[in-house]
Subunit: 234 residues, 2 copies
């Protein structure tokens, strides 16, 4: 059996061995959910940036630019970090440059892996099928919140570990814990998450429709993959 | 309501604010369980050390010396990290100097807190009563395993968060997750943990009786507290 393990924060990723593994980067609220929404709605590629400045500069190279800090659209950007903004093929055919608080960092810290995927609930089953078709062990890299454990990324990790159980063992402590937590709370994701501090912070931003989208399973049949620092739909 | 939060690793403790909080340091397999066993069996005080050398030197000052690295007794030490070695008042009346892989680090990184307690299942209810008698918020600091999340420390944290629910809210994501996990798996701690990689490593050291001791609830009515870098029974 292949193995699945979870890293709960980019601050802990140096303690995990990435070599030969497929890393799935997760930032459910909202960076990786937004990437999946954008690609499923016709965005042709996504470049991610750590700094606002670098990302903003891509506007002059014909990119649509999306920038978010602490949950709100950053100054001078066309878009923030809302997945529903991309629905109905709103920006189909365009290239996107994106920077977010936690998600971009997790992607850049995953370099060195065999492959890097982007994980979100709306394409969970597609990601599962892809991982099952490959021989590599899986490491789920949660973006967390300012370096700390967060509940929604961890629950996605548990859902993925659970969905992989026919082919991948969850002996690693984090995977075992989150698989069990998903078994208990997976039927009621939104209710369970609504008790959490991060979800409460998001509710303050009036993004109820984003939260609903981010927790919706299996809308899309494709996988989001990072290649040469560009995220594409495969 | 007071708050309870969980830090899953000493590598993440810098992201938490310790000021004004009571920190409960947890290293279930086996440092904090061993401290509680030792104090409950007549050890008068415990000094903890990061380095083997400093700890070994305490032998010439009349201390019983206990040293463990990677699960086994270190060279030149009278004791390793086995809680059952202290039972039946085996070393009653003596002072203990101790160094362990993960536990000592978590204690030293908890400096700055309002108070520091040592947590273990054998005195869980006593610790709960003590925390409920105080006005401070609680931060549970899991020693983890080589900086990573581990299951037994996290489950203790969940048990403590659950036991405190009449007086302390678990809105913080880690506390919410582990409280729910303990609700699901708390009736079967040993069975659930036996699937985990760290517990499997311990099984290789033939310490079944240690594991049983470490997972036994409420043998002792007192609390272990760190004051001026010395752990005492109060």
């Amino acid at each position: 059996m292949r193995q699945v393990e979870i890293c709960f924060s980019p601050e802990l990723i140096h303690l995990h061995d990435l070599e030969g593994k497929i890393v799935v980067v997760v930032d459910i609220f909202r960076a990786t959910s937004t990437m999946v929404a954008a690609l499923a709605n016709g965005i042709t590629e996504i470049k991610t940036f750590a700094s606002l400045e670098e990302c903003r500069d891509m506007g002059s190279e014909g990119y649509l630019i999306a920038g978010e800090r602490n949950g709100v659209t950053a100054e001078g950007f066309q878009l923030g970090n809302s997945p529903v903004a991309y629905l109905n093929n709103q920006y189909a055919g365009q290239k996107l440059a994106m920077t977010t608080t936690n998600g971009t960092l997790a992607i850049s810290k995953s370099q060195g892996a065999y492959e890097i995927l982007i994980g979100a609930f709306p394409n969970l089953s597609a990601t599962v099928s892809y991982l099952q078709s490959r021989d590599q062990d899986v490491l789920i890299h949660c973006a967390g919140w300012k370096g700390r454990f967060n509940l929604e990324d961890s629950l996605y990790a548990g859902a993925l570990a659970k969905s992989l159980e026919a082919t991948h063992t969850s002996e690693e402590d984090g995977a075992l814990a989150m698989k069990a937590l998903f078994e208990k709370e997976g039927h009621n994701l939104k209710g369970f998450l609504s008790q959490a501090s991060h979800a409460k912070r998001l509710q303050n931003h009036n993004i109820e429709s984003d939260i609903d989208f981010c927790l919706t399973l299996d809308l899309y049949p494709s996988v989001a993959k990072v290649e040469s620092e560009v995220v594409k739909w495969i």
